[in-house]
Symmetry: C2
DNA sequence: TTTCCTTCTTGATCGTGGTCATGGCCCCAT
DNA sequence: ATGGGGCCATGACCACGATCAAGAAGGAAA
């Protein structure tokens, strides 16, 4: 009894329930009724915040859970054979991490916090069990995976058809849009990742990222100071990002 | 009654039941018991074969079904804004087409047959309904999507880190492996796609594809004649495909 | 503070692969 | 058989972005 009370008090203090979470309109349980959300809530495991640089999980370790980002941000990095790392994704609050591990029951990449980050752990077998009786949850799970597929295709287009300038422009407009949807300013934000991460993600050398950032600055598209970004001309940036091909 | 008989006779003649399908060990219902497979079978819609160049569905049309390839092959092409097309995938028998349309309820690309091709249409709402009571089917659906996510990540790595030679080598080894899994020769096969398709898919100009194919030939890695391919040194090709970076 | 190390910027040079241009080939229709 | 058109191969040239190199700025710990 004492335990239960302590448990409840702690969870309220940490605002760890889905119903009070500010991300609930974007996150997995978005379509659930109150009762269902309570059930969903009950399978979530809270975790101590990850410090910058800490790994949420490592490549090739057994898959057991997916994770919803609650605050902070992460990057997913895959190492293959003798080759160097490939950064395949950045994750922001409300996004689901680990879905690509279901198939082989191992995580295909290491996921690392870019800053202090908290996540909700969702054991996959229990999630699937709930999904059996909650069509809305099932639908939301399909949609999350489907959306990630679409985003991947967009990334392939970027990598195979866009110039370096267009890649950077796409990167900024995409980030801007993601911040907007989460209620933050779409014009002013702080990058949690290093230039090297951006380059790796976009298929560019760090030097190229630096150079183009400089050029964007002189063109009055953005104002960058370290990791602080101000988008000055979003329409122009969007145009640049969307016009494809070499010229 | 007459209708039922006719229906049953037709389906037997066309070998259109999952239980008699040679792909059943690779396809969606792979984990199902006999009874479940019959239920699954009942929601499948058979389709007249697509002729070369015909579209299975077009970009931005409403999503309603996913499709399992029964024979032949297809390509998925996305057109965006003013830009040119981007070929995002080739589909071979047993593979599932259309999963990236769930999220927005519209197909994000046009899918076109590369040769005479037959598919099984699986209405998604009925599939989901079945999945509710068949955990194995649900699992297989997750796995299909998860696998596609992993393949996409591999493609991103190819596009952002590999040289033209390594891309072509990867393309051949991947095709070879896919044929092998389907019971065909991994060494000798016919490409159903044009050079231009390969180039578009791999992020290379057609001319580059031609040139490198020529080089592979003189290096004794493959023998290519038109669309007929003979892989002569698979180990070397695999090594080339896997060693990443510029050198 | 000072130090040390990581991160970022800027410059110079070079190479891969894109672009443009031409010609051959294969397949199909008439 | 004879064009015609898509598909493919090869050559010449050039540009984008990688690589190499050096130095400046930022940030954490003593």
């Amino acid at each position: 009894m004492a335990d239960t009370l302590t448990g409840r008090r702690r969870s309220v203090l940490q605002e760890t329930r889905c119903q009070t979470c500010s991300l609930s309109s974007l996150c997995l349980p978005l379509a659930l009724e109150v009762d269902d959300m309570d059930q969903f809530d009950a399978i979530i495991r809270r975790r101590a915040p990850l410090k910058k640089g800490e790994a949420l999980f490592r490549q090739d370790t057994p898959f057991s859970s997916v994770f919803a980002v609650r605050s902070g941000s992460l990057k997913q990095v895959t190492t293959e054979g003798s080759g160097e790392d490939q950064l395949t994704n950045f994750y922001l609050p409300s996004e689901l991490v680990g879905l690509d591990g279901i198939d082989e029951q191992r995580y295909p990449g290491t996921v690392v916090a870019l800053e202090t980050t908290t996540v909700c752990e969702i054991p996959f077998d229990r999630l699937d069990h709930l999904a059996e009786s909650m069509p809305e949850l099932r639908g939301q799970l399909y949609r999350s995976m489907s959306k990630e597929l679409r985003d991947d295709r967009r990334m392939m287009r970027l990598l195979s058809r866009k110039t370096a300038d267009q890649r950077l422009a796409s990167f900024f407009t995409s980030l801007s849009e993601r911040f907007r949807r989460r209620g933050y300013s779409p014009y002013s934000f702080r990058l949690s990742m290093a230039r090297a991460d951006i380059g790796n993600y976009l298929g560019l050398a760090v030097e190229t990222v630096s150079r183009i950032l400089g050029r964007f600055q002189t063109q009055g598209l953005v104002a960058v100071s370290g990791r602080e970004v101000n988008i000055l001309d979003l329409p122009a940036l969007t145009r640049l990002a969307e016009e494809e091909g070499a010229h």
